[in-house]
């Protein structure tokens, strides 16, 4: 995966990602995407190019259970989020939506940095800063869901959440 970084701080909550007041249009991701991150960075939707990467501080996506938070980020073109930690419901919702998340230290990254990520090998290269980071690989069960394009693809492929596969 290769993309440009968009950097944000700690504790970016789900209301920053997509404000609750837009819930009435939650089944229309295109319409919702117009408002993604608008209270944090009004230019976000204009800046993002397909494949770009959000790089954030700790606890990204804390707050609400709204699954349209990761879905609207994906709709905007983001392919991956990197942060030291994530809100736990946001984490599950992202994996279920097929959006990979990487947990690692994000100090020293700047917006506009070009990043190359190998999810399977667990390494991240910052081509602009000329740095390289090894990260804890996404657990294999979750990686299988991501590779299936999310939980819908996973269930369509495997039929159910296989106890043997995850335990």
């Amino acid at each position: 995966m290769r993309g440009f970084a968009h950097c944000y701080g700690d504790d970016i909550n789900t209301d920053y990602i997509i404000a609750g007041k837009y819930r009435s249009i939650c089944l229309d991701m295109k319409e919702m995407a117009v408002h993604v991150m608008e209270d944090l960075d009004p230019e976000f939707i204009k800046k993002v190019k397909p494949g770009d990467i959000i790089v954030a501080g700790k606890n990204f996506g804390c707050g609400s259970s709204r699954e349209y938070a990761p879905k609207v980020i994906m709709e905007a073109g983001i392919s991956l989020i990197i942060a030291p930690s994530f809100g736990r419901i946001f984490y599950r919702n992202s994996i279920n939506s097929g959006l990979p998340l990487i947990e690692c230290n994000t100090e020293g990254f700047h917006s506009g940095d070009e990043l190359v990520v190998d999810l399977l090998e667990g390494n991240l290269q910052n081509l602009t800063q000329k740095t390289r980071v090894q990260f804890k690989k996404i657990p294999s069960f979750m990686m299988t869901i991501i590779q299936a394009g999310g939980m819908i693809g996973y269930i369509q492929k495997y039929g159910s959440i296989d106890v043997e596969r995850i335990c």
Binding site: N13, Y16, G20, S24, S65, R88, I89, I166
Partner: protein
């Protein structure tokens, strides 16, 4: 090796002894979807190719965030969800019955040892009944509706004991805001908080729920408590059959143990725009407020309304302050009417709304204008949470909110108390 409450519950429900860090597939005792998240669940359920909800008797849908429907989009969402409810024969609490997190305990749907999921982050509320209950998203609910099961990572547990004696005029809301200040908004991330100690034992079940309800504001997957005599008595009024409490082992392994002596705790205020941006009321007193909200799944219960009524009785909110009061369920509203609380509220100039999430959902029921401050008993004070990102939300107990509505500034109802 000893187990925590959550390790014990997930061991029973997954059919194998497990401990923190392991992945398990657990049976589910109750599955809940609400409003828009239910609409998305149904969309995913259909995309999954599923036809039939596996356990309709364990499945409930609730409308509580946008009640009554404030525009045609919400009306259409409710219509879509209601069609599914009829076809699938699942449980349903229609608009006006109340907030899901009040209804499930109140109607006797949760008991000790249960595993409960819901498409709302505050599903952790029912942990006060000694159950493992947690928020999930729409896709997880869709998968659970198909199979009656869901995967979990068994969380580590943090034990938080409140010791000493809670001072007069200080409430469970102040305890959880204080815990948020101490642990911060990600202090319990991915983990379960087990609350205990003599201060918890002295609280009513309704008051305890404010603590488990806001566990997620500290990042927690769940908040949980032991079941004591009060829990059993409370449950026996609502459910038939055996109640088997789940206790932690004496040698249970905790990631951390906090003992907070709260004997001198003052009312706490969470200032904008984070739940852990907490100070003593003495440091926030005098801040102007333009609106005040008493309600939500955190503090819309009868004890909360009584505390507010005590302060509002015989008084009148100034015309330039809006006070919204929303009982968390129809039953609470009826009790408030019987006890004469509703008359007190209406005579005080409050706006009484039907049981729903109100301004905590940020969709209807009292959205603040630009640059306005709202003092609120809601669950969180994120920027934009109350429906306008140019407004500010301060969180406090119902007593502080009521007192502040009367004066138009953040006010300690026990002004003159011995402050440190």
């Amino acid at each position: 090796m000893g187990q925590t409450i959550v390790e014990k519950i997930l061991s029973v429900k997954s059919g194998r002894t497990c401990s923190a860090g392991e992945l398990v597939v657990s049976d589910l005792d109750l599955m809940m979807g609400h409003d828009f998240n239910a609409a998305m669940t149904i969309q995913v359920f259909e995309e999954l190719g599923a036809r039939k909800v596996a356990y309709p008797e364990k499945t409930f849908f609730v409308f509580d965030h946008a009640v009554p429907a404030p525009n045609e989009n919400y009306a259409r969402i409710q219509q879509k969800v209601e069609r599914f409810i009829k076809v699938q024969g699942v449980g349903f609490y229609p608009p006006g019955e109340g907030i899901c997190h009040q209804l499930f305990p109140e109607k006797g749907h949760v008991k000790p040892g249960d595993v409960v999921i819901g498409t709302d982050s505050h599903t952790c509320t029912y942990g006060a009944l000694n159950a493992f209950t947690t928020g999930i998203g729409s896709t997880d609910l869709a998968v659970a509706l198909m199979s009656g099961k869901l995967w979990f990572k068994v969380p580590e547990t943090i034990r938080v004991n409140f010791i000493g004696k809670l001072p007069k005029g200080v409430y469970s809301k102040d305890l959880i805001l204080y815990a948020a200040k101490k642990l911060t908004v990600d202090g319990a991330l991915y983990k379960c908080i087990e609350f205990g100690g003599p201060v918890i034992a002295a609280l009513s079940l309704e008051e305890r729920m404010t603590l488990t309800n806001m566990s997620v504001e500290l990042g927690a997957k769940a908040g949980i408590m032991e079941a004591d005599e009060k829990t059993i008595t409370w449950l026996k009024e609502r459910i038939d059959g055996d109640i088997t409490p789940v206790f932690p082992d004496a040698d249970a392994v905790y990631e951390a143990v906090y003992n907070f002596d709260v004997s001198e705790l003052l009312p706490q205020i969470a200032c904008p725009h984070a739940v852990d941006n907490v100070c003593d009321i003495s440091d926030a007193a005098g801040t102007p407020v333009h609106s005040a909200f008493i309600g939500s799944c955190s503090n819309g219960r009868i004890a909360d309304l009584r505390a507010a009524a005590k302060i509002l009785e015989g008084k009148r909110v100034p015309k330039h302050i809006r006070l919204y009061i929303i009982p968390a369920s129809r039953e609470i509203c009826l009790n408030a009417i019987e006890e004469g609380l509703v008359s007190i509220f209406l005579n005080a100039g409050a706006i009484l709304e039907p049981p729903c999430c109100g301004p905590c959902g940020g969709i209807c029921g009292g959205i603040p204008a630009d640059d306005e401050n709202m003092i609120s008993t809601a669950t969180r004070n994120f920027k934009g949470r109350a429906g306008n990102s140019k407004s500010n939300v301060y969180l406090a107990s119902p007593a502080v909110v009521a007192a502040s509505a009367l004066t138009g500034v953040i006010t300690d109802p026990m002004e003159g108390r011995n402050t440190r």
